[in-house]
C-alpha cells in the first residue's frame, strides 16, 4: 500500500528568523512540507539546518515569522505541546536518556500515546528493525556505541507514531549498510504509515534519492528549491552536494588548500 502525496501542507514556515543572542542563524526562511511527502534541506556546515528544525519543534523561539503545523499556529509554543500535536524530532547528537535502559528510552518515545497494546507492538517492530536493541533492552542507553545510540534515537521517534518526523542527520555515525537500511526504513514508514518527513542530511546522495522535494540552505537563507528529481540534475548540486566534480576543479581546490600550508 502506498500513501499518495496530497497537496495540502502539514508544515508551513513563513519568513522565520532565529538567533542565538546577537548571532542570527536563519534569516527569513519559508518552506512547506506537504502531507505524506519526504522533504529535505541541504546545506553546508553552519548553514542553519539544525536551527530550522529546532525552531520548528519549539526548542528555539524564533525572532520573527510563524510556523504552522496541521493548520495550527505553533510558533514559540512549549516543545512538549508541539510533540503532542504529532510532531517528533530526532535531534542532532542522539540525545538519549543515558541512565535509562534502552527499553525505558523507547517507552519514553511513546510518552504521548495512550494505547498500551500499540506501544507494545511498536516496540516489537523497532526491535525488528534493529535487533541489537532487543539484545541490549535492559542496558543503560548511555553505554551503547555511537551508532547504536543513533538507532535508539530513531526508534524512539518511531515509537510516538507521529504525523511528522523531523530527522536531523539520521545516518550520522552509522555503517554504510545501516545507513542504507535506515533510509529504507524511513521510506517504508513514509509509504506505509503515510508519515510526513522533513529530513536534514549530509549524505546528499541518499537524501535526494529518498526525498520528494528539496530545499537548499546557505547562510541561513533558502537559495534554491525544487523537486528532488530536478535537483539531482542541477550542476551546482552535483558539484557541491553530490561531490561529482571534474578532476580539474578538484585539483584546483586541492592546490588552493595547499598553498596556505607550508
Amino acid at each position: 500500500m502506498t500513501a499518495p502525496v496530497t497537496d495540502n501542507a502539514v508544515l508551513k514556515l513563513l519568513n522565520v528568523e532565529s538567533a542565538y543572542g546577537p548571532i542570527k542563524a536563519i534569516r527569513g526562511v519559508s518552506l512547506q512540507v506537504r502531507r505524506g511527502e519526504i522533504a529535505t534541506v541541504l546545506g553546508s556546515n553552519g548553514a542553519g539546518k539544525t536551527t530550522i528544525l529546532k525552531t520548528i519543534s519549539g526548542i528555539i523561539d524564533p525572532r520573527k515569522g510563524s510556523i504552522e503545523f496541521k493548520g495550527e499556529n505553533i510558533t514559540a509554543q512549549d516543545p512538549a505541546h508541539i510533540v503532542q500535536q504529532g510532531l517528533m524530532h530526532v535531534p542532532e547528537g542522539r540525545e538519549v536518556f543515558p541512565l535509562l535502559s534502552v527499553r525505558d528510552n523507547l517507552v519514553m518515545g511513546a510518552y504521548t500515546r495512550k494505547d498500551r497494546d500499540g506501544v507494545a507492538r511498536d516496540i516489537e517492530a523497532v526491535f525488528g528493525y534493529f535487533p541489537i536493541l532487543r539484545e541490549r533492552a535492559a542496558q543503560d542507553a548511555g553505554l551503547l556505541s555511537g551508532g547504536q545510540q543513533q538507532m535508539l534515537a530513531i526508534s524512539r521517534a518511531l515509537m510516538a507514531n507521529p504525523d511528522l518526523i523531523l530527522l536531523d542527520e539520521p545516518s550520522l555515525g552509522l555503517s554504510p549498510k545501516l545507513t542504507k537500511e535506515i533510509f529504507e526504513i524511513v521510506v517504508r514508514i513514509n509509504r506505509e504509515r503515510g508519515t510526513t518527513i522533513l529530513l536534514v542530511e549530509q549524505n546528499a546522495n541518499m537524501a535526494l534519492n529518498a526525498s520528494d522535494y528539496g530545499y537548499v540552505l546557505e547562510n541561513g537563507r533558502i537559495v534554491m528549491e525544487d523537486t528532488c528529481a530536478h535537483l539531482r540534475e542541477k550542476d551546482d548540486i552535483k558539484e557541491f552536494y553530490l561531490g561529482m566534480k571534474e578532476e580539474g576543479v578538484r585539483a584546483d581546490r586541492r592546490w588552493k588548500k595547499k598553498k596556505n600550508w607550508r
Binding site: 547528537g93 537500511e181 528549491e225
Partner: protein, 289 residues
C-alpha cells in the same frame, strides 16, 4: 617493568590479543594489530563492533581484560613502552592524541583557548613563574600561540578563533577537535569518525588534511571511519572488525572486496535510486515564493 623489544623498527603501536569485557558484552575480542610509522591505519566495522573501545583502550580510559598495547618510545629510543601500564594522563605526553566520536571540547572556552589547552603537554613553566607571569612564562605563552596559529592556518580556522565552542556548528567542532589534537604535536593521531557530520566537500577537505598530516607533518594516523570514500582515499591499511573480533585486514581495496566485510558492514552495492518514489509528485511552487 618488562621492556618488550621492538621486533620491527617500523612499528609505532602494537596491540596484541586485546580483549575487554563489560558485564556480558565482549566488546573487544582478542584483537591484534600493528600500526606502522607514517601510515594511515583505519578501523572499520559495523556499529558496536568495538572500534571506539579500541581507541579507549589505547588512551587508557578502559583497561583491557587481557592483552597488551605497546608504543614505540618517543625520542627515538629503542624499545617499546607498555601503554597498558601507563596512567591516562601520561598518554598525551608520549605523543598520542585523539579526537572523540561525540566531540568532547571545552564548551565554555573559545577555540583559541581550546587549542592552547592542547599545548598542555609542552608546558615548561612552573606554578610560581605563572603566578608572577615572569618573562619565561610570557615567552612560553607566545611560543604556544605561534604553534597554535600554525594549526589554525592549516585547518582554516581563522574565522572561528575567538568564537565560543558552544555556539559552533557540528562540522566546525569536528575540525576544532582535530586542531586541538594536532596542537599536542603527536606522533600518533587517533581520529574517531573524522568525517561524520561533514558534507561531501568538507569530507574532501578532511581527506586533504589527513594526507597532509601524514605526509608533511609525519604523523601516523589511526582512524575509525564509516565513509568508505574517505577510507579508500587516505588509508594505507584497513582492519575490519565485527562483534569485537578481527574480520579482515589489508589494503582498502582488499578489505572492501572481502565477502565477510560486505555482508556485515558494507551492504549491497550502492544503488540508492531504489529509494525513490515510483511516481514523482508533480512539481509545486514553494511557500517561499
Amino acid at each position: 617493568m618488562s621492556q618488550p623489544q621492538n621486533p620491527n623498527a617500523d612499528v609505532l603501536l602494537s596491540a596484541q590479543n586485546l580483549s575487554v569485557r563489560f558485564g556480558g558484552v565482549l566488546a573487544v575480542n582478542n584483537v591484534s594489530f600493528d600500526v606502522k610509522r607514517g601510515e594511515v591505519f583505519t578501523l572499520i566495522g559495523p556499529n558496536g563492533a568495538g572500534k571506539t573501545t579500541v581507541f579507549n583502550l589505547i588512551s587508557r580510559i578502559y583497561t583491557p581484560t587481557s592483552g597488551t598495547i605497546d608504543f614505540a618510545a618517543p625520542g627515538g629510543q629503542s624499545g617499546m613502552l607498555r601503554l597498558t601500564d601507563k596512567a591516562p594522563h601520561e598518554i598525551a605526553k608520549l605523543g598520542i592524541a585523539r579526537t572523540f566520536q561525540n566531540i568532547e571540547l571545552f564548551e565554555h572556552a573559545t577555540v583559541l583557548q581550546n587549542l592552547l589547552i592542547g599545548r598542555h603537554t609542552h608546558r615548561r613553566t612552573g606554578l610560581w613563574s605563572e603566578i608572577f607571569f615572569t618573562g619565561k612564562t610570557r615567552a612560553a605563552e607566545i611560543e604556544a600561540r605561534e604553534k597554535v596559529e600554525q594549526v589554525i592556518e592549516l585547518l582554516d580556522l581563522q574565522h572561528h578563533r575567538e568564537s565560543m565552542v558552544a555556539g559552533l556548528p557540528y562540522g566546525v567542532r569536528k575540525v576544532v577537535e582535530l586542531a586541538r589534537a594536532l596542537c599536542t604535536e603527536p606522533q600518533l593521531l587517533l581520529l574517531d569518525e573524522p568525517s561524520s557530520g561533514l558534507n561531501v566537500e568538507e569530507t574532501d577537505d578532511m581527506a586533504f588534511w589527513i594526507t597532509d598530516i601524514k605526509d608533511e607533518l609525519g604523523i601516523t594516523v589511526l582512524m575509525v571511519e564509516h565513509d568508505m570514500g574517505l577510507v579508500s582515499k587516505v588509508s594505507d591499511r584497513v582492519l575490519a572488525m565485527s562483534m569485537g573480533a578481527e574480520l579482515a585486514t589489508g589494503t582498502p581495496a582488499e578489505v572492501q572486496r572481502d565477502p565477510g566485510v560486505i555482508e556485515a558492514y558494507l551492504g549491497s552495492v550502492d544503488d540508492v535510486s531504489s529509494l525513490r518514489r515510483e511516481n514523482h509528485p508533480k512539481s509545486h511552487t514553494g511557500a517561499s515564493a
